[in-house]
């Protein structure tokens, strides 16, 4: 078994058989060395981008989950931030993510709700 570009191939008597694929990441992973705060900032950005993409594709539940995860990460960043300006950015963005999730939850029809 060997890998060519982003696919894994298996050598068979009949020829090459593609057995699995490695999808390219949406955005390149951060290059080391990065501080913990930088990693968390990058991760929260990825979560928000993911959430927006899922929301666009109609996968509301996953989008809600991603928005809430992003809010948690941002609040974690805010908790240890010394600068007021950066703290306000984290706190405001976390509040926006939570508000977005709240709105999406309110708009999602409940399975047990009567028509």
């Amino acid at each position: 078994m060997f890998r060519i570009t982003s696919f894994v191939y298996e050598i068979r008597p009949t020829g090459l058989l593609r057995v699995s694929a490695f999808p390219e990441p949406m955005q390149a992973a951060p290059k080391p060395p990065m501080s913990r705060a930088q990693k968390l900032r990058w991760y929260s950005g990825q979560l928000m981008a993911d959430a927006a993409a899922y929301e666009k594709n109609g996968k509301t539940e996953t989008a809600i989950s991603r928005y809430l995860q992003a809010a948690d990460i941002l609040l974690l960043l805010a908790k240890v931030e010394e600068s007021y300006t950066a703290w306000k950015y984290y706190a405001d963005t976390a509040a926006q993510c939570q508000q977005k999730a709240r709105t999406m939850i309110a708009l999602t029809p409940r399975p047990d709700a009567s028509p």
């Binding site: 805010a78 931030e81 600068s83 007021y84 300006t85 703290w87 306000k88 706190a91």
Partner: protein, 163 residues
Amino acid sequence: MSFLRNPRDLIAIGVLALLLAIAAYATLGMSGSVTSPVPTEFTVDGRTYAFTYIATNNAQRAAGLMNRQVTNTTTMLFAFPAMGNYQFWMYDTNTSLDMIWINATGNTGRVVYVYADAQPCSLSCPNYPTSSSVDCKANYVIEAKAGFAAANGIEVGTQIQFG
């Protein structure tokens, strides 16, 4: 009311009234206490912030945020019994602060002066505003973490709602 005809009684009542007035001044006037209800929160730029600390008398105002752990969410209100040009210093504070002087009537106030990023000090401490010629007549002053005023769009003339 026959006792009032006696001059000695009148003098006694006068002395008693004088003593009461002195006692009232000592308890209220000397301590500089604010007797009217003091706001517990304020709204600016559509966001509401609750005051972490409120100083309503001379002792509390003198202590201010001295030796307190100031975080990004810390805000302190200095309430004064009358309008005036009040000066502040940063002795023994643990971080730099923004100071906002507000001229308020009722629940609405207008920012009259802002001093941003005042640095902590322990030996040589300047007063803010640094110049006594600055007109900052106010009855409320808010202190918050440095960057608060700029991040919330607070400048001279900004309206502030108290609650």
